[in-house]
């Protein structure tokens, strides 16, 4: 065994071990984050958190009931914008695509996906808030909805494209029109993937903070309707975390726990569904 061979074999083992170490580091970061948040957030969580409104600053107690409801309302509006536009856009790209226009749409969708959330916040502010002269849940929902669109488009397109052409051809062979084939055959075949893609999308915007600061503003009371400012979980986490009050820190941990648990549950659930319904490959 020459020295060179020994060197090469040694390098082999060392480098491959290093890659293992890298992976270990990456995975352990995740476990650390999860574990720390679950422990710290879990022990701070009280029933009050879900049921009470915030108390005046400096006092202890209270909760984030209005923030939880606020986030839910924001996501509702976001999905009313993001889901139809994203879904239909994805259908267009997958079923009627192929032209230069499709290329432009795909490119723009990618562009929109890359727009930082703070810029979307500026956009929603100048377009809605300034014109309407008040902050609102509605504007916040629109900002989040715009952020939802690109991923909804992409996942719809991907899963529709994964449906084998034989299904489309079969439907047409039986006399269905193009649109009928899409609606009754292709979309249902891809529906699992599309729905999970949308759920993942929702989970992603649920955690967005930056656009809400300029649009939904904040509210220490219940926010009735859709035209008033509203509190939301991510914004509360931000506000409370940078404050000096220990009780607010405790609440920020609780909110982080709730938010992260929801987001991760949706993610794990979605990916398991996707993996299970195996014929749509990941």
């Amino acid at each position: 065994m020459t020295a060179r061979l020994v060197y090469r074999k040694a390098t082999n083992i060392v480098m491959l071990t290093l890659t293992g170490v890298c992976t270990l580091l990456a995975v352990s970061v995740l476990f650390f984050i999860l574990g720390y948040l679950l422990w710290h957030g879990g022990k701070s969580l009280t029933w009050d958190f879900f049921t009470k409104l915030p108390v005046p600053v400096g006092e202890t107690g209270g909760g984030m009931a209005n923030a939880i409801v606020g986030s839910a309302k924001l996501l509702l509006i976001a999905s009313l914008i993001g889901v139809p536009v994203g879904f239909l856009g994805g259908v267009y790209l997958a079923e009627f695509g192929g032209s230069t226009f499709s290329y432009i749409v795909r490119y723009t969708t990618d562009l929109l996906n890359g727009v930082p959330s703070i810029v979307i916040g500026i956009f929603a502010y100048t377009v809605i808030i300034v014109r309407q002269h008040h902050f609102s849940t509605f504007a916040g929902g629109i900002a989040l909805g715009v952020m939802m669109i690109p991923i909804a488009v992409r996942s719809t397109e991907e899963f529709l494209k994964a449906v084998p052409n034989s299904l489309r051809e079969g439907a047409v062979a039986l006399g269905a029109s193009r649109s009928k084939a899409i609606v009754t055959v292709v979309i249902p075949a891809a529906i699992h993937g599309i729905l999970t893609g949308i759920m993942l999308d929702l989970a992603r915007v649920a955690g967005e903070t930056a656009p809400l600061i300029f649009t939904a503003f904040g509210n220490q009371f219940w926010s009735p309707g859709w035209n008033q400012p509203t509190s939301s979980l991510p914004v509360m986490i931000y506000t409370y975390a940078i404050s000096p009050y220990d009780d607010w820190h405790r609440q920020a941990w609780s909110a982080g726990f709730v938010l992260l648990t929801l987001v991760l549950l949706v993610n794990v659930f979605s990916r398991l569904i996707l993996a299970r319904k195996g014929h749509i490959a990941r």
Binding site: P84, L112, P116, A171, T184, V185, G207, H249
Partner: protein, 324 residues
Amino acid sequence: MPTSTSIAEYARPSERARSFLSRLRGGDAAAHLITFLAAASIVFVTGWIVFELYTNSVLSRREFGWSFLTTQVWDPVAGQFGALPFIYGTLVTSGLALLQAIPLGVGAAIFLSELAPSRVSDALTFLIELLAAVPSVIYGLLGVFVLIPFLKTIEPAIRRVLGFLPYFQGPFYGVSVLTAGFVLAIMVIPFIISISREVLLAVPADQREAAMALGATKWEATWDIVVPFARKGIIGSIFLALARSLGETMAVTMVIGNDPKIHASLFAPGYSIASVIANEFTEATGDLYVHALIELGLVLFALTFVINGLARLLILSTTRKGSS
């Protein structure tokens, strides 16, 4: 020949679809139109965003012109606004993030694609991709309460080893560009790992086999043959990670220190474009101030636009899929 039962199987969940269908009385034309409108609205909205950014920054652009990008001063009282400290902060924090994320990310991707058995690889990738789903504000939360105290304890050690460099001199307050760089690194690693792993897996098996047949060790085969083959896709994933970290707002705002100055030391606080917009936008009094902030948004948009474009180009040409 596809039987009617197998079509019916797929058509069964279509109760909703049938009522939807009845509204599409025009059939193909209507479907085409509706979906076309949806697709067109995406283009319209994106264009509108650019338009709004452009028109609402006009005062600042007129006042400062291109020198906006090279001026260091950010003085609301005097009405002097320059983007350089923020561009610097954004680039430095992203640069630091990539410096840490690239070796770790590519290393992990190599392990997951070449060494790990496929079930283990899938499971670990699944877990790592969960990291990408964690909201930014939660990274910020952990940054403030976990990372900063941690960095404060290891800072003397770093200073002892690297203190001769100007990058590691000066006081350390916990909030700094270094801290922001760390947080960003954790946030972008999943992207690098996930995409790099996919492009590495896409490298044809015969490349590896040929290398092995010629007597290469596993590492040599991987590093000298497989990785170069997938190089463009890996670089694409790095650009994607970069684009992500440039626009990252909340996590950075909470740990960067909010100081609009350029310091050589990484221990010093800094300011990124996204952070200054988040902090000062709702309270910028005076139209010039607001327009200057929106111009910063335009600069950020342009930066991410270019880098995302490059990323897409590289990744598409490697994986050869329509999307990734």
